[in-house]
Symmetry: C2
Subunit: 372 residues, 2 copies
């Protein structure tokens, strides 16, 4: 079997690490970045140095800021850009996508694969492509320069699903030689609802706004999540799980997820956070102009809230955090974020949503289109 | 003219200072506290020591935990208990109130006089009493022991209004020899809407939840109110002012109020806060179990929000703070706080609200009661 070839889209922390690792272990890798300046050093010398869990270097096949060149002829397109970039990236790639290509969002946040799939299919309904999303990024890593990355730790298991979902195992099998950590989720609805960043990022950030904006140092998780804030995010998590139950997907509470992922136990979420050794020493961001707000509110909380509203599930804790983020930033995240219209799910019943995730289309007419 | 006699209700920071000052300058003063333990030292030796702006001591006429004894035969009943105590206090005093007595809430927060007046009139519709409220407490002060108070500073001007409003000047004239600072407001709707604690207390507290709950030291105003939090509370203040405009009352923005009260200027609220010398050094509370949440949310923000809803004014910033406070404390503040039902304002038009504040009753039938 021919070795698969990769495009990595985005030369940020994750993209550099992923491109470095895949080329290091012998894959043909193209690395794309939209801003020329950031990729220029790798265009001049396409070699990525790796430190940390993986030590060594990898030679890229190509480094470019031309999206057509970047994806041309590759098998798997690993997208590592923030969720705010997914839609525009999909539109930019769409004309050049080739039948059989697989796009993997690392991660999708909530509704990433749905949004990218819909954006491509809108203009190119006949292209035969698969869009998958991982539930979280596979590494804890940092780019240490434009040409080097440090990988602190690879995650042990990361669930992944594709649209159409009957391609999930194919995608996992193709990724397996490089990334045996990927395990299948039922579909992209499951990976979307099991987005724990939605729970751990915006609320502790906004409820510690003053110190984050002043740049006062504190440990984001262990100091920032006090008993009251822990209680608050447990309520948000309960809303997320209620939505998950309605959508018939498997989901763990954030507290149980901490135990499963990190072995961190506690009687409540606050205690589990305090007992998570992986959180100790992690400093809070300095400033509010961060992805915990600008990515996680519109691309994690808004799609959850928007889906919940469609099914008359109340999400007061999630909604109050969205609202405060909107008022602090002056952005209408609910309108600009991944609402059900943008995800192509408006008017769909639960079984139709899963059918869409399963097949990439639905057989029945949408309710909103039915004239009785 | 006979010198007026005072009852002071509540032997906390404000009550001790007020009772000490009034007795120091020669008034007959009864001091009441519900909890015997706290007033016991003054029952044993009814002498209050004063330091700070006023130095000296005052001899009380009576210290007691018996409400009947406390108010019997006095002219003015100065209430210094937190707003959470207003309703129960009104019910406890009601049977013993004498015609002509004046109750002054120091301060009323939002709707305090309306609530107390309604609570008394419900059971004793024929008692001839006046209920007034001050817009804020007249001193910055602290009780330094059960028998001593330190007065940092008296405010220069404090607006006050009575129900019925045609008694406002009478009340101010009676208070004037002791407190020349009181100036008349149009009515208790004006004092209620000009409650700046609603703006400065709950939002900065909740948006600094983590550090307050952990007891990490910071200056509440100058460090806690960052540019983003300043922007957020300006939006809350704009909602308060929109309500004020609808209710045809005079109100200053919180920014302009800082300039008028403290001479603190700035291009925006954040800057005015930073430029307010009176705020420098004021430390944040240590813990979330505080009046900034338990008093200001249900007794300041809830009545504003509830009134606004009745007139279809949107208050998204105020409401999001109420909601977060509810989710963090587990208390339904909207239901338990001073909503329009509890204030006796449900179904009233703007002119009827002012008529009620003016006369203590309304001549027209309430809209909700009208059968067409």
């Amino acid at each position: 079997m021919k070795k698969v070839t990769y495009s990595i889209i985005g030369a940020g922390n994750g993209g550099i690490a992923m491109a470095g690792y895949l080329s290091h272990i012998g894959y043909d890798v193209n690395l794309y970045n939209r801003t020329l300046e950031n990729i220029q050093p790798l265009i001049e010398k396409p070699r990525i140095g790796l430190t940390g869990e993986i030590e060594g270097y990898g030679e890229l096949n190509l480094a470019t800021n031309n999206i057509k060149e970047a994806i041309e002829g590759t098998d798997i397109i690993m997208v590592t850009v923030p969720a705010m970039g997914h839609y525009n990236l999909a539109k930019a790639m769409a004309p050049y996508l080739e039948d059989g290509q697989i796009i993997v969002l690392n991660p999708g946040r909530t509704g990433g694969a749905l949004e990218v799939y819909a954006a491509i299919k809108k203009d190119y309904p006949n292209k035969n492509i698969v869009v998958a999303e991982a539930q979280t990024f596979i590494y804890a890593c940092r780019a240490t320069s434009r040409t080097d990355a440090h990988i602190f730790k690879s995650k042990k298991e990361v669930s992944l699903a594709a649209i159409p979902a009957n391609k999930t195992l194919d995608v996992i099998n193709l990724l397996k030689p490089a990334y045996p950590q990927f395990i299948p989720a039922r579909d992209v609805i499951e990976t979307s609802i099991n987005n724990y960043g939605a729970i751990f990022h915006p609320a502790p950030t906004l409820l510690n706004s003053g110190h984050i904006e002043r740049g006062a140092p504190f440990e984001y998780y262990t100091e920032g999540i006090t008993p009251s804030i822990g209680g608050f995010i447990e309520r948000m998590d309960a809303e997320r799980m209620a939505l998950g139950r309605l959508l018939n997907i498997n989901t763990l509470s954030a507290k149980d997820w901490l135990e499963e992922t990190y072995g961190a136990k506690g009687d409540n979420l606050y205690e589990a956070v305090q007992n998570n050794p992986a959180y100790h020493g992690l400093q809070a961001p300095k400033g509010l102009n961060i992805r915990y707000i600008y990515e996680d509110v519109p691309y994690s909380l808004v799609p959850m809230s928007s889906l919940a509203k469609q099914f008359n599930i109340e999400t007061p804790a999630i909604d109050s955090i969205i609202r405060i983020a909107e008022l602090i930033t002056g952005i209408d995240f609910y309108k600009e974020g991944r609402n059900i219209e943008r995800l192509g799910l408006k008017g769909l019943q639960v079984n139709q949503i899963h059918e869409f995730a399963e097949k990439g289309s639905i057989s029945e007419e949408r309710e909103e289109g039915v004239v009785a």
